[in-house]
Symmetry: C2
Subunit: 380 residues, 2 copies
């Protein structure tokens, strides 16, 4: 059996650590229809080296889609087509950082982004967050100590914490960015996945007045295997990315897949995909939250997420999620322990659960298993 | 009219500078058939986050294809699926270089690779080449002066020179790489495009005995818009690439397109595409060479290419290709002047012509126009 996907789950294990959509949610039929629609047109341009910024027609179509979804005007000239948010982060590091530069991330932050940043040998400083996102006073303190070239933030339905940065804090963050001249890299891939809470507009709303690059991805709203996303920014920031050697040489990042995605949007299939995903995830999120409240001791706390993929559990101080994981795995249940999401080895008493991969029934079985290892032992 | 492709040719211009396939050579029907074949299977795994190294089944299929084409055994475990050779070069820079490192390139070299290297702030040193490729004695001299972390070479049907590194020089290059401990990054994207000369086996043949990373791409044998290629190397080199943050985060680089390409190979369409391209390019190469001999003064010399995309014209010493270009463009003919391919501002009396983009009739018209600006003026 050869490995096809990034998944590697032992037989029988329910792994809440998997932050990927279920296989049953991957829209194979819609993509078949979109591919046939696009490839039956006589225009072969999606097979040529693409315009560096991405196909202008695809950017126009995507801009219309985003205008409706974000409820704010999105212009094609402010979009750069990427191979997904990870690739965009990699490109931003190449073009905006030098080894030894300081960058700010949230504490906790998306753990695999840390691996990208480490490839560029930057100095990573974590800024704590609470249930309303990044703590602005903590950011002010760090700004007094460090010159940061950029801040990486997941403002809405955060990975892993599920938190959404409040509107008031967004204003203060933008103000600090102007005052201290750092770039805001906003990973807004969960923006459209709202279930019970309508989030503030994305930070993409501020690209023309502030130094913001907003990242979006088809990975979360369609299918990760497409490796297709976008960066939204003012020309000053976007041009720096567009003139990367990678794009000058290979042309636009994914012309073939862009062409298929254009048909997906044009045919209304993208809207259908997203509506279906939201329906399913909303139900799973509610079911997982209810089961956690029922099966876990009261000392374990969490905020029910308003959208996104994740629930962030807080164990009482003194608990250790890594030790809990060692007990959980023999019982065929797993998760991502908090320290993975820390840039400084902290967050020992947190853990992340995802509800994107499993059907509700499996989520409930997973919580029952998790409940068995959650008593008041493990206190150090 | 929005920009779709990387092309930007003024109306009426014949631009020999375009190193891209004709639109008529882009295999739209074959890709439609391949996409339908793959997407009508019930397996949605090509839509999931892919295995970091690339889908195991696709790597097995690609390995079979390469085994036949390279006439040497290629193993799936030595392949990493990339988003094309440019992206592979970018990833190699991320993982194998630090700012200030010295790297060697050929003089001339692929001009857009220079832009990628510059993004990584490495010190670029050019090694001259002749009609048999890299001049080994010149490499030995530079090795006495610099420690180089890698050498970037296009060993077969070189861009822009068309030259192929001789078998004897390949052995000496490998020997020097062992002795001086530098990595050989072999851009072998033209290896399969042989028309009148059978090249030596690719440097990929040496991955298990030497520090070689060989790059291949579907851009040259199928369609650039796919953004799909491969790196072939021993596990020691490949693992360093696979564990990049970019891959750990986003998964394999192009699962959706890999799935379509797998069907393209399985259905025999890839072999048909390649055979067709070779037939067309062979004819164009011969026609362009004949026209150049007929219309250009005897003082302008070139070697008829045995494969690839390019003819490299040498003007008499004292001619300046940049000045010639200023005279050519008002006559609706263009090309890439030599200095673009130099890492040190040299090669003033060279220019590159490509025969990949235009039909034979246009190539002949272009040469007629070029002939008008080629008399013995311009001598400085």
């Amino acid at each position: 059996m050869l490995q096809t996907t990034q998944l590697n789950i032992p037989e029988g294990m329910i792994d809440f650590g998997v932050g990927q959509p279920s296989f049953s949610l991957l829209p194979l039929a819609a993509l078949r229809q979109a591919a046939d629609h696009r490839l039956s047109q006589s225009d072969p341009s999606l097979l040529q080296y693409g315009a560096e910024q991405g196909d202008g027609y695809f950017r126009a179509t995507l801009a219309q889609f985003l205008t409706a979804r974000y409820s704010l005007p999105v212009e094609p000239e402010h979009l750069l087509i990427t191979s997904g948010a990870s690739q965009a982060l990699d490109l931003i590091c190449t073009r905006f950082t030098q080894p030894g530069d300081t960058i700010f991330v949230e504490e906790p932050t998306y753990f695999l982004a840390l691996l990208i940043f480490r490839d560029y040998r930057v100095n990573i400083v974590g800024i704590p967050m609470d249930e309303n996102g990044l703590i602005i006073e903590a950011l002010e303190e760090k700004l007094a100590q460090h010159h940061s070239v950029l801040l990486y933030t997941i403002p809405t339905f955060h990975n892993p914490s599920g938190a959404t940065l409040s509107a008031e804090r967004r204003e203060r963050l933008l103000h600090l960015s102007r005052e201290h001249d750092f770039l805001i890299v906003a990973d807004e891939v969960y923006q459209m996945l709202d279930y019970t809470v309508t989030p503030p507009p994305p930070l993409a709303a501020h690209i023309l007045t502030d130094r913001v690059i907003s990242l979006g991805s088809f990975s979360k709203i369609t299918a990760p295997g497409l490796r297709l996303g976008w960066a939204q920014a003012a020309p000053a920031q976007l041009d720096r990315l567009i003139h990367a050697g990678l794009l000058e040489s290979g042309g636009g990042l994914n012309p073939f897949t862009s062409g298929v995605a254009q048909s997906l949007i044009e045919l209304g299939l993208q809207d259908e995909c997203l509506a279906h995903l939201k329906r399913v995830y909303r139900e799973r999120s509610a079911a997982l939250s209810a089961a956690l409240r029922q099966h876990l001791p009261g000392s374990v706390s969490f905020a029910e997420p308003g959208g996104g993929f994740f629930i962030w559990l807080r164990l009482p101080a003194g608990y250790n999620a890594q030790e809990l994981l060692a007990e959980a795995r023999p019982r065929d249940v797993s998760f991502q322990p908090g320290p993975k999401f820390s840039s400084s080895g902290g967050l020992a008493n947190y853990l992340r659960l995802s509800f994107a991969f499993y059907e509700t029934e499996q989520l409930l079985e997973g919580v029952a298993r998790l409940g068995q290892v959650m008593p008041n032992k493990n206190v150090i």
